[in-house]
């Protein structure tokens, strides 16, 4: 859209060719809008029809999509979801970012003094990325209390959180490190040239650029973490998944699982849109020619 020009000195009126061209552009836009609309509607109607007309649909509907059971199971699932899953994931995300950043920076460092820490960081990422998260949850949630150590909590929530942080910290550290390494060496050179210390160069120049590049995979890991909070339910924490299983086992209806799925999706989508928006804004601000 071109705003009307109003300055007196340069009273520009679009030429007839330009007006004609705008009409063409408008009709091209209308055409692509129409194509998009028709394609979308046809696609989703087709998916719907195929699903609903399948022979087993009535059974599936009654077992997974029963309105009555959804309403009945919702309050306890909702409560457990907020009380445990959301809290686990919010706390976990903050702790993971801190841990992962430290590990990534330590692995990047070339200071001789930090060599022992580098070894620890490498062993940590290698080890904890390799262990299935659910095993880690079991080992910590059951193993730590079994040690009978004084002053150590037996809280399932606590050990579940620690397991998730350790497991995801290793993944996220590698993601952040790949971002840091993707920043061109000339950036470090120009930070050096300005007299910044290595740490300052990392803190103000390299990390901000590197992290921005890996935001999509980071988001991926966090969405994955949100879902994996349900693993703590497997160790016995009464989270949303446990609440759903409770209901499903009692009433022989799987609808509560659908409800849980719905909650997880609702939690994820706003986060995805927010990061998309932030990325797009940064792109427009910093890059010429970005649209």
């Amino acid at each position: 859209m071109i705003p009307e020009q109003t300055d007196g000195e340069d009273a520009w009126r679009p030429s007839s060719r330009e007006l004609e061209r705008r009409d063409v552009r408008r009709s091209l836009r209308r055409r692509s809008l129409a194509v998009a609309t028709v394609a979308t509607v046809v696609f989703f109607v087709a998916v719907w029809v195929v699903t609903v007309s399948s022979p087993g649909w009535p059974t599936v509907e009654a077992t997974f999509f029963s309105g009555h059971d959804a309403r009945a199971a919702m309050p306890s699932i909702w409560h457990a979801f907020w009380r445990y899953n959301v809290l686990l994931f919010l706390l976990g995300e903050a702790l993971i970012l801190v841990l992962a950043m430290v590990v990534a920076l330590v692995r990047q460092s070339r200071t001789p003094l930090l060599l022992p820490l580098r070894i620890v960081a490498i062993v940590y990422t290698d080890l904890f990325r390799g262990i299935p998260t659910i095993l880690l949850v079991f080992m910590l949630a059951f193993g730590m209390p079994a040690l009978n150590l004084q002053g150590i909590t037996n809280s399932l929530f606590f050990w579940g959180l620690v397991a998730l942080v350790l497991s995801y910290g290793a993944y996220v550290a590698e993601v952040i490190r790949s971002g840091i390494e993707s920043v061109h060496p000339s950036q470090i050179a120009s930070a050096d040239a300005l007299g910044l210390t290595r740490f300052q160069a990392m803190r103000y120049v390299v990390v901000p650029q590197g992290v921005r590049r890996v935001i999509p995979p980071l988001l991926n890991d966090f969405v994955s973490l949100q879902k994996d909070t349900a693993l703590v339910g497997a160790a016995g924490l009464f989270d949303a998944m446990f609440a759903a299983r409770d209901y499903a086992n009692f009433y022989f209806n799987f609808t509560p699982y659908t409800v849980v799925a719905g909650y997880f999706i609702v939690l994820t989508i706003p986060l995805a849109r927010l990061t998309d928006h932030l990325q797009h804004r940064a792109m427009e601000r910093e890059r010429q020619g970005a649209r």
């Binding site: 020009q5 520009w12 060719r17 061209r21 063409v24």
Partner: protein
Amino acid sequence: MSRDAALPDASALLEVRDLRKSYGDNVVLRDIDLTVQPHDVICLIGSSGSGKSTLLRCLNLLEEIDDGVISFAGREISDPRIDRREVRRHIGMVFQSYNLFPHLTVLDNCTLAPRRVHGVPKAEAEERARDLLARFGLADQAEKHPDRMSGGQQQRAALVRALCTRPTLLLLDEITAALDPELVGEVLTIVRELAEQGTTMILATHEMAFARDIATTVCFLDEGRILEHGPPAEILSSPREERTRRFLARVLPQT
């Protein structure tokens, strides 16, 4: 260059009439008229922000224009229905900051478009690229990645990349602006060679001496207008406009 020509010039390779380009309220180009005959070398001069780069970007349809008509080889290319890729097959462009693909070797940079866009077989595309690289003194650089080379080498490689598709028109956007004087000479020698071979070019440049040497026409841009244009001897030695005189006084070496 014939601003008052009522009829479109049939022999012209590129013809621009009343071109206007704005970003929101900011009008960056207005009333631009430009005719480029085959074998012309048009130099766009003017201070930074006068619209030289934007004009070049408009010409190969990287920017959507707000008014006016651009014709290339007798066809209006400012029509929204035109296939931009088809137009760009015939126009080469070199950017101020090289814009080579850092993940490809020089040779791969130079053969990408010929092979993927123009359908030239690999062996032929590579032969063509190696020939040009050798001509421009880059024979031993073909397997290197761009980041490993000096600025002058990179810019020459970028020129080779543009030439490998055998464009009918070459757009050069201040290609020496990021180079030191010695490297400037290196790149300009090549551009001069191209001009002597009859390559049709439009180039934005700050090298006045160079413009005087090779241009068939010099256009002085100021605040988005072509304030005056003509043979280099005329524009650079006895400009009509006061604004042009002031600009030249600042950029021409004092004698």
